[in-house]
Symmetry: C2
Subunit: 134 residues, 2 copies
């Protein structure tokens, strides 16, 4: 497999990462995602990593890259399904996942994205992003 599918669901794109990312897979994912954001006008990107039991600095960097790229394309990125062990590793490795928010699962991630997009479109609405790790 050299490509991770990017699924469109309304205004959002969903990516489930189930295997460890290696160089080409990561580059393909980055380019597929920005192209999909461009083509579909998506406002949010959901990345589900619930299948990953470990995460390394490379993976952390790629997720950060995706967040930054999406931001430039005017889309928010939310990482969901972070396993407890992965959360521990992220902190111990000192990985910050800059520009990326997190949520417990896909449903909560979607709700967070809707709030974020809504609060951009309607700035007087208050934002309650308790899960933000920005």
């Amino acid at each position: 497999m050299d490509r991770i599918p990017v699924l469109q669901m309304g205004k959002f794109l969903l990516v489930t990462i189930q295997v460890d990312l290696y160089d080409r897979l990561a580059l393909n994912l980055e380019s597929d995602l920005v192209q999909m954001v461009n083509k579909t006008g998506a406002r949010g990107v959901l990345i589900d990593i619930s299948a990953l039991s470990i995460v390394d600095s490379f993976m952390g960097r790629i997720i950060g890259n995706i967040g930054s790229m999406s931001k430039i394309m005017d889309a928010e990125t939310v990482v969901v399904g972070i396993q407890p062990a992965v959360a521990i590793t992220l902190v111990e490795l000192g990985l910050e996942l800059k520009g990326v928010s997190t949520a417990l699962n896909v449903e909560k991630g979607m709700a967070l994205l809707r709030r974020k997009i809504g609060s951009f479109e309607d700035t007087q609405e208050e934002e309650h992003d308790d899960n933000s790790v920005e």
Copy 2:
């Protein structure tokens, strides 16, 4: 990896199959899915196979099994993202994907599921399942 994540999105469950299924992975997926249907009361199961460029008779049988199991649990199954080559292979292998509907992509699959569930809940509503391969 010995588990494919099952994502809950409202009334639906979403599974993206990105790797070839082997015995244990397939059994885990089947049991995870029925448990999730039971736990969440999901009415529909979406299986995205857009990452698969080939499909064999084992995979076809597993998808058929999932469809039958979900049906017993009162949930509809829709397979989405079937690549042209996979469609050709399915027909040439004589695999029927019994009890499973298909749609071009996740969005159309969700629309199909909504129509199906709606039509069950409201029987006087007409059903237009052009993509059904039942």
